[in-house]
């Protein structure tokens, strides 16, 4: 199943007012692979993810998922595509007035005719997969940041997506919880063979989860390398971005 291109950005341009964020971005992601996107703050890394799932449309260029241009899909087609994609938001983006269990069940409750029993069974399975148990009735305000991300991930996984987009999965987490989230992302990749794009700053996360690293700057892909080569690169800009290497 690996090898074919599942997601493609072709010469994508995007501006917000006078600020150009993407300026001819082009890259591809092969099925089953995990691409990490790094780059300075404000270079449009999250904007890339939002284009991939149709939350934004490019001013110019094409974003394709399995050969179909996302920006030209109708409402129903886009909804069908999104059911095959998962998105982990920076803060989890749990609906604050629904409990953990209700949050995870939400996509199935709203979009399928499955019985409550079936929906609950699937939600419990996903919560167990991300190692959140015994929190079904807790409200988002009652759980930690790391747990919110796990619940957000369980909710993203409830429709068994083929592509998962992670927006800074380590943001705001301490090293120990970050490590557990990174292991979880790696485990999901190995067990479920999903394709993923991970926007992240933390080197440990990228070393753990990524097959390749794309360095985004000035709205374009500047460098694309496997993690080992990326972190050993002599490219002056990469060296400057990563900072001093430990001896």
């Amino acid at each position: 199943m690996t090898g074919d291109v599942i997601l493609r950005f072709a010469d994508v341009h995007k501006s917000f007012g006078t600020q150009q964020v993407l300026a001819g971005l082009s890259f591809e992601v092969q099925r089953g692979r995990t691409l990490a996107i790094m780059g300075p703050s404000g270079t449009g890394k999250s904007v890339v993810l939002r284009h991939a799932i149709g939350l934004m449309t490019p001013d110019r260029g094409r974003v394709e998922v399995e050969g179909r241009e996302v920006g030209k899909l109708g409402r129903k087609e886009l909804a069908a595509l999104r059911r095959r994609m998962g998105y982990l938001f920076q803060e989890g983006a749990l609906i604050n007035w629904l409990s953990v269990g209700e949050n995870v069940c939400l996509p199935l409750r709203e979009n399928t005719d499955l019985s409550d029993k079936e929906i609950r069974a699937r939600a419990e399975e996903k919560l167990a997969l991300v190692r959140v148990e015994g929190a079904w009735d807790k409200m988002p305000a009652q759980i930690s940041g790391g747990m919110k991300k796990r619940v957000g991930l369980a909710r993203a996984l409830i429709t068994d997506p083929e592509i998962i987009l992670y927006d800074e999965p380590n943001a705001g987490l301490d090293p120990e919880i970050s490590h557990s989230i990174n292991e979880l992302i790696r485990e999901l990749k190995e067990r479920l063979h999903v394709t993923a794009i991970v926007v992240e700053h933390r080197i440990e996360c990228i070393k753990t989860v990524a097959d390749e690293v794309l360095f985004l700057e000035q709205g374009r892909a500047q460098v694309r390398l496997p993690p080992k080569e990326f972190f050993a690169s002599d490219n002056p800009r990469i060296v400057q971005f990563l900072g001093p290497r430990p001896d």
Partner: protein
Amino acid sequence: MPLLRILSDLSLALGLPLELLGQVLARLHHVPARVAWIVDQVYQSAIQTLHVVLLVGLFIGMIVALQTGIELQRIGQQDQIGTIVAVSMAREMGPFITATILAATAGSSMAAELGTMSVSDELAALEVLSVDRVRFLVLPRVIALAIAAPVLTVLCDMIGIFGGGFVAQSQLNVSTELYWDAALDALRDLGTSVPLPKDVFSGLFKATVFGVIVSLIGCSAGLQARGGALGVGQATRAAVRDSIVAVIIANYFMTWFMYQG
């Protein structure tokens, strides 16, 4: 021209609420599946503002009785106080006061809730999860206020008329019997199309429309909120301002349609 600018801003502000109205009407068949959330919203919007509506309604009735009573007393017509208080509460004051209180409480709360969801990516999450936000968020709120507003209006009318009676008896020397006879007599005029007194029905019809207006403007302000806490604050302020202006304008046209047309 400031007036033209205000009208232009208002028409722009009403664009999304009108679009939402169409989307809500197209989803009315989902109401039975949303009963639990509608009940929750009715509780939040009606029960939690009940004491404010009752207090304001009581004093409005007392003010109307006192203001008109003093003038009527001069020409020896104070026995008409009951008529004036009952008609003004049922036709105008009850629905308008209730709508204003709902705009300041439920409408602002809707704008703040949905605005916070917008700036914290929860609305984006719903979109990504293919959850219809109109069906999920807007429909229960609109139906809840369409129910809560007329119920609160009836209570506001009743306590306002009661308050007017208290002033009439204690300060204007009008007997309780005379006041209540005049008040009930004024509300006896049945409408042609519904088996309800015309003034009561027109007030309840207005209240329902006002409830829909307040909820649609509150929801649309929240859905459009951008830019963190500042954006939520702006959305909340806009929701209250636009709701009150829209309620007043709608009130004029409904009054014209029901009593002049």
